[in-house]
Amino acid sequence: MAEPTVIPIGSGEERVIRARHGLVAVDFQELWRYRELFVFLAWRDILVRYKQTALGIAWAILQPFLTTVVFTVIFGRIAKFPSEGAPYAVITLAALLPWNYFSNAMSESSASLVLSSNMISKTYFPRLIIPASAILSGIIDFLISVAMLAVFMIVYRVPLRPEILLMPVFFLVCVLAAFAVGVWLSALNVKYRDVKYIVPFFTRIGLYVSPVGFLSSIVPERWRLLYNLNPMVGVIDGFRWCVLGGKFTPYWPGFLVSVAVMLTLAITGLVYFRTAEKKFADII
């Protein structure tokens, strides 16, 4: 691991601890000071992810692979959904990449605060680091899926396009969307353990509501803006476009809606988190 430069935490300055009232802003300076902890927690989550599993990291290949096979057979072969002439397996896998990352990051992040209750009630650090670092636990899985996608593209003779260079941009939107939802749900989870039941429901339903097994172009034109209120719609369309180009150009107004929803969720989530944070140690 690279060795980051060190700034002693809080050294020299005077710190005032008192009750904060109303809405609380995010203290980016403090978050920056604690960046090492962020890296460590993310690293820990990645390390322990497949410890004591028989198949280990193979799970990161098996899961998307089997889902791709099933979706290709059901949606591509049996239901015969339109594919614009592209191989259905690539269409599915290109969508599974961001979706799997998103659903994993969202679940990990939502549960993260409650799972760290011990740390929260015994030490101080900016609490935001916990749901934020949990977002990254699936990053290795994502990279493995990307490699798998490359293999699929070779097998199905899908040529590389310049659009592929934009994939990191869409991935960033995906990460931020997971972060936005994760921040909201993790903070809510501290107070309302209902979140535990909501999250699996979200991820299960979300897989079918988001355009993973089908193309979002089958949604009637007049509903598409509305459909894009689900931020993952814009992300998935973007990924498909990066891989297959041409006919898969995203519906840009819809993409903007997705991004706007994501940003709104993120900003309100951060404000809610910071405000609820004051009570975390007392009620967790």
């Binding site: 980051p4 009750a19 322990v48 929260i120 030490t123 140690a281």
Partner: protein, 415 residues
């Protein structure tokens, strides 16, 4: 005097008690809102609040080692949590100059699946130690923890002693300007505890400011220069450590032969059986009770126990502390191979006779404990009563009482 490193002004911390103690569910919340619509009153209005801390003010200068003492529930832990920024005060403010490291529990954030080595880095990061610093001190930490052979084994395979040693080792090598410590010395075996105390003493002598919560009065006296006595959330006394310790100990009832009712005492334990009464009497050489306990007398300590549920293999112990809280005597039934076996509701009286107690004149404190092996503390009263020992002038040609706790009988030749 230079500016204080910690300045506390009128802090208070209020908790809400009652129905909402744990966590809500949305359903409750919705039901409550609905009820409020109809009755104009919510369940929450009935919730009681209580102040865990109230009106606490003090200043701490650089390098002071402060012992925070008080009974369970007096607000010690809450005070440390406020100082280490874990929880926000409801009122008042704290100004802190310098880097704070809090050590309220050893091994915070340890992950069982990670190896000792990995956990050192992780735990260090959680406690605010920069990566480069942990790397620099890594060998020292491993040496201190005495688990070098297992450093690449996941900590879930560690014995609890190894786990604690590793955790304390990381914490002991933190280098903060202000250290906040809660009872962490009460872990591990005796040798390691001694090592920890030594390390704490070093930290204290190194000019750091330390806040130290402990139930061990001798540890407080040994390490601290200043004491804060908390009582029911308020700051009762802020004075030199030894003054605060003796004041704290003087709160416990003195006993001069009468039967002490233990029912209202502060206690810990699972409560499957309860200590009911305690009687301490001094006996003379013929076994007759005397008015006062003299150095070298026999002490008779009678304890009655009542079982709540049926209990087996219960060890009953009597512990005698000196006025600084140092444990002098620990007698128990297990030493004699005897245990209490009681049906629910069953009662028993245990009588200990302590022979030739060569205690110097002074005040002593008696603690009582019921438990099963090292597994379960059934009932535990830290300070149940105190008794006075007076000097036996027949044994001494000198009227002055010399210091020292143990008055060894001795002979002497002079040439």
């Amino acid at each position: 005097m230079s500016k204080p490193v910690v300045s506390v002004r009128g802090i208070g911390k209020r908790y809400t008690l009652g129905i909402k103690q744990d966590y809500d569910t949305l359903r409750d919340r919705i039901a409550q809102r609905a009820m409020k619509l109809f009755t104009g009153k919510s369940e929450n209005d009935d919730a009681k609040t209580f102040w865990a801390l109230r009106d606490i003010s003090f200043d701490i200068a650089q390098g002071e080692v402060v012992g925070v003492i008080g009974r369970n529930g007096a607000g010690k832990s809450t005070l440390l949590k406020v100082l280490s920024q874990i929880t926000e005060p409801t009122e008042g403010e704290v100004r802190i100059r310098g880097r704070v490291a809090s050590l309220l529990e050893v091994g915070t954030g340890f992950h069982p699946e990670l190896t000792g080595r990995e956990n050192i880095f992780l735990n260090g990061a959680i406690l605010g130690m920069p990566h480069s610093e942990i790397r620099k001190k890594f060998d020292e930490i491993v040496a201190f923890s005495e688990v070098a052979d297992f450093i690449d084994t996941p900590v879930k395979r560690y014995s609890s002693g190894m786990y604690v040693r590793l955790a304390f080792a990381v914490a002991a090598h933190l280098d903060p300007e202000i250290l906040v410590v809660d009872e962490v010395l009460a872990v591990g075996d005796v040798a390691f505890r001694k090592k920890c105390m030594g390390k704490m003493g070093e930290v204290a002598k190194g000019g750091r400011t330390v806040f130290f919560v402990s139930h061990s009065m001798s540890a407080v006296q040994l390490l601290c220069s200043r004491g804060l006595l908390l009582e029911a959330g308020g700051l009762k006394l802020d004075a030199p450590a030894h003054t605060v310790v003796s004041r704290y100990l003087s709160n416990f009832a003195a006993s001069s032969g009468e039967v002490v009712d233990l029912s209202a005492m502060k206690r810990k334990g699972t409560g499957r059986a309860l200590l009911r009464t305690l009687q301490i009497r001094a006996l003379d050489a013929k076994g007759a009770p005397t008015e006062v306990a003299q150095t070298g007398c026999d002490l008779e300590i009678k304890v009655t126990v009542e079982a709540v549920t049926s209990v087996q293999s219960v060890n009953a112990a009597v512990i005698v502390y000196d006025s600084s809280g140092y444990r002098l005597i620990d007698v128990n039934t297990a030493i004699k191979g005897c245990f209490l076996e009681l049906p629910a509701g069953g009662k028993s009286e245990v009588r200990f006779l302590l022979r030739d107690t060569l205690l110097n004149a002074g005040t002593y404190f008696v603690g009582l404990w019921l438990g099963v092996g090292g597994v379960e503390a059934i009932d535990d009263i830290e300070f149940a009563a105190s008794f006075e020992v007076v000097h036996d002038f027949r044994e001494s040609a000198h009227s002055e009482v010399f210091p020292g706790t143990y008055k060894c009988r001795f002979e002497m030749q002079m040439k």
